[in-house]
Symmetry: C2
Subunit: 335 residues, 2 copies
Amino acid sequence: MSELNLQVVLADRPKGFPDISDFAFKEMPMPKPGEGEVLLKTLYMSVDPYMRGRMNEGPSYARGVEIGEVMMGGTVGEVVVSNDASLKLGDVVQAQVGWQTYGVAKGSSVRKIDADLAPVSTALGVLGMPGLTAYFGLLDVGQVREGDTVVVSGAAGAVGSVVGQIAKIKGCKVVGIAGSETKVSYLVDVLGFDGAFNYKTTSDYRGALKELCPEGIDVYFDNVGGEISDAVFPLLNQHGRIAVCGQISQYNLEKPELGPRIMGQFIGKRLRMRGFIVSDFADQYTPALETLSGWIRTGKIQYREDIWEGLKMAPTAFIDMLKGGNIGKRLVKLA
Amino acid sequence: MSELNLQVVLADRPKGFPDISDFAFKEMPMPKPGEGEVLLKTLYMSVDPYMRGRMNEGPSYARGVEIGEVMMGGTVGEVVVSNDASLKLGDVVQAQVGWQTYGVAKGSSVRKIDADLAPVSTALGVLGMPGLTAYFGLLDVGQVREGDTVVVSGAAGAVGSVVGQIAKIKGCKVVGIAGSETKVSYLVDVLGFDGAFNYKTTSDYRGALKELCPEGIDVYFDNVGGEISDAVFPLLNQHGRIAVCGQISQYNLEKPELGPRIMGQFIGKRLRMRGFIVSDFADQYTPALETLSGWIRTGKIQYREDIWEGLKMAPTAFIDMLKGGNIGKRLVKLA
């Protein structure tokens, strides 16, 4: 194999919102898998909000990407060389090789995908990290119960859209917050949310929420933070739960913003807030994916993919996603 | 009984810090207990930070005190008339009749105190609401484990001083934050805290905490909030827990203050924060009080009472306590 490996690397650490110039393209020799490793040809690359954090310097829950290093991220790839007896040529797997046309992974670190169950791209979306994040975040972290009123921010994204549908399956009332009329109508008319509003055209978030949730809010699944969370907190009911999944409104600020202090509300209302990372639940992925697959098969969960084509589109697809350009799971498909 | 009942009533709702003029004294006829009720002669009255919230209008987790109404609060009283077969004259009970020399309570709502076990005043302190708050807040809400580093704010108060000692019993390292040199030395030299600092003479709270907790903070038991909490959050370790018990720094603000947003820290560090009210644990009071009594008997928990005398001193004792004047449990003893 004399082909080259094309990579998207981090060229600079963004100040505030990432710019296309923070990325660069690089041609590298084809990597060679060692013992127990496989060479994967990338079919799909994931772009996710959490990647913005990895572009920063300094401690995070995961190591950041170094300047000149390939952008990290989840991928779906086809095995083209295998030094792992459990994987054969042509197998399609979910891996984490980042934004490059080829990548090497340990055989033991990848998850084989059954293409008969669902399109392989879903291993990066509804049947992958975002779907699992919704599942564990709502059921385990959010401790959702039948009859709860659930509010989800970033509701039309890869995680939020699944959160709302699982909440409906569990007998909850669900209200979504999203950033366009198209998203709002997708949530209500297609996914069956009980209500939603467009935060970009609403000035009084709290008023909008109060109208949609006159009975208050029991579970807040937060992907966004900032002023949206400020509006949710006063409406939380006794024993309300907050699952902190993401804070996309804060990722691109040049300096941290101030907000109303929230701790005082925790006492009288006995609130519980918990942040989480989906990999904390890795030992429960298999049954969760079976459950999610079942819900997809029976039409209880619908999903949308928003697929861009070509490695070179990855930075733009990512930046646009951070601005809320996507409905459902944004992916980059390689040729 | 032709004596009068002297009361402290709420005269006005405080704007910001309560003033002595927000209270008034009132002479009322002696109340008469009905069927199943007892008349109690007040021996001790409690003054606690949470009472500040009850002086405000509007919804709280408990009904506020109305203008002209007697100030609410925990009391220790002697049964002087009994219409409840389970209570006899001379019994000493913990009740909730508020700031008055006599009060009527349902026999079923009071807790009989065994004066042989400890001074009856402790039923308002280490063997009462504050002690139980420390116990459940640290063990249940804070989920403290051996080897944890625990930071407690308001550390020299009725709750904080017990929190720190229970944490020591459980094999933790304990650091306290308090508002005077006397308090700091009481925490370290008398109660056995591993460290403490005086926030009134320290400008860099975070630096002080970092020096005292180079290994980070696992459990934060918060009675204070505000800038003290701002300093604690960045030092919380992975899987850190925050038990929100009080926010005394915020109770007397004329308008809510802004602070750094904290939700972003929850994700990468998987933090858990929970607010609580001790009465949520009412069904477990009896075994908890037995445990606390045992620790007191064996000298593992020490306590201090800061006793003022006379009903008329109650407002001043309360206001001074809100300003941090107390070490240990502040009480008002009636003649």
